[in-house]
């Protein structure tokens, strides 16, 4: 094993996260710009941990009304009925419709909660300076990043159901207050993923290696 640092920061260099160019930081405390593409340069994303925590906590707060409040209200001659996301999944369950029901269950209930838990786990790992299984944690980050957008499925389902079923006075479907909170959970978790800098995962790992020799 060579003792040379493996990250650009270890060499005192900054890499541009847009075009990949490596350059020496500008003299003084001033923030530099990439000479090739003009992007602001930083060793690591600015205030990554704090911003990610803020988005995750906001998402966790919105998660409760998103699941408790109705997302769709169906009015017929016989009266009206409101469904939450979970009730929507149950309604979709039928001998032919169960695969779609599973997709919605996965995209709307499991992915958002798993995303919040995974981000908290990654943040705690960085705080504790954990050096174990950093490969799995990077893979977890990438999975969360890739899969997160699919939670928007329920927003589109409710949008087009409500837009199409406008047959007053027979039947009409309107979006409920839960939809706004659900959409906020999706947006806030996507912003949290974007503000987290995954390079922090192995910064801690290599710092600990140096300490423990």
């Amino acid at each position: 094993m060579s003792a040379a640092p493996s990250s650009a920061m270890g060499w005192g260099l900054q890499s541009c996260h847009v075009c990949g160019l490596l350059s020496r930081p500008a003299a003084g405390a001033r923030q530099g710009r990439c000479p090739r593409c003009d992007e602001m340069l930083d060793f690591r994303k600015h205030a990554s941990i704090e911003r990610t925590w803020a988005f995750v906590i906001a998402a966790a707060i919105c998660y409760i009304p998103a699941n408790v409040l109705p997302v769709l209200t169906t009015s017929t001659a016989a009266g009206s009925e409101s469904d939450t996301i979970l009730q929507g999944v149950v309604l979709l369950w039928s001998p032919t419709g169960w695969p779609l029901s599973l997709i919605v269950l996965f995209a709307s209930i499991m992915i958002p909660s798993a995303k919040i838990i995974a981000l908290i786990y990654l943040l705690i790992g960085v705080h504790r300076g954990s050096a174990t299984n950093s490969h799995q944690r990077v893979r977890l980050y990438r999975t969360v990043e890739f899969i997160g957008r699919w939670s928007m499925v329920d927003v589109f389902v409710d949008t087009f159901t409500a837009a199409l079923v406008q047959l007053q006075p027979l039947m009409s479907v309107r979006p409920g207050p839960g939809l706004l909170f659900f959409a906020m959970v999706v947006v806030l978790t996507m912003l949290a993923v974007e503000s987290f800098d995954p390079r922090l995962i192995w910064d801690m790992a290599s710092a600990n290696e140096v300490q423990h020799g």
């Binding site: 075009c19 957008r149 079923v165």
Partner: protein, 205 residues
């Protein structure tokens, strides 16, 4: 930090730290991307101008376009969700296609101008929020739900959007930003002092 080896078309280099693919050489990246971006633009215009879904029940019928769904949300006092749907289903995909068209046109020069770099910098944001494929799945689920009590008629836009999902994926896969960055005009023309190696790159997961 990693110095990238020269690659043949179709080969890729991966990060030794996190195993992320850092660069994959593509065949003829500029012309293929341009062709796919033109195709995507044509499909996008059609998809947003014809009805996507229709339904008939006891002699009454209704139909909607993507934008119609946005207008209905707005009318139902869900303004924020309406803006979000407008953004992810129409604005971001439109920007994604328009930016890629401009990038591919600009990258045909031997030394692309600086504005091409500005567009490449902001392209990933449009790509992140462009959710045509997610919307397709949502529309299919909505169709299944409604099919229980009404006859649903898939519109032309639905099939066009289905094709657009694949063309957009092919467009992104054919684009090689490194190929453009290596040829582009630099913002700072005398940067020798600060440059280490133009072909080195830090892991960017």
């Amino acid at each position: 930090m990693q110095r990238l080896p020269p690659l043949e078309p179709g080969e890729s280099a991966r990060c030794p730290q996190c195993d992320e693919e850092m660069w994959r050489r593509r065949d003829d990246p500029v012309n293929r991307t341009l062709a796919l971006a033109i195709a995507a633009a044509a499909l996008f215009v059609v998809a947003n101008s014809v009805p996507m879904l229709g339904l008939t029940v006891v002699g009454r019928s209704a139909s909607t376009t993507v934008f119609g769904g946005v207008l209905d949300l707005w009318a139902d006092r869900q303004e924020i969700v309406a803006i979000l749907v407008l953004f992810t289903a129409i604005v971001a995909p439109g920007l994604q296609i328009a930016m890629m068209l401009a990038i591919a046109f600009g990258a045909r020069r031997l030394h692309p101008r600086r504005w091409v770099g500005v567009l490449i910098r902001h392209h990933p944001a449009a790509k992140t929020w462009s959710m045509i494929e997610v919307m397709m799945l949502g529309v299919l689920v909505a169709l299944t739900k409604i099919a229980d009590y009404a006859r649903v008629i898939p519109g032309i836009a639905l099939f066009v959007l289905g094709a657009l999902v694949f063309v957009l994926a092919a467009m992104e896969a054919s684009f090689d930003p490194r190929d453009v960055w290596q040829r582009i005009e630099w913002v700072d023309r005398a940067p020798e002092a600060s440059i280490v190696w133009p072909d080195a790159e830090e892991a960017q997961p």
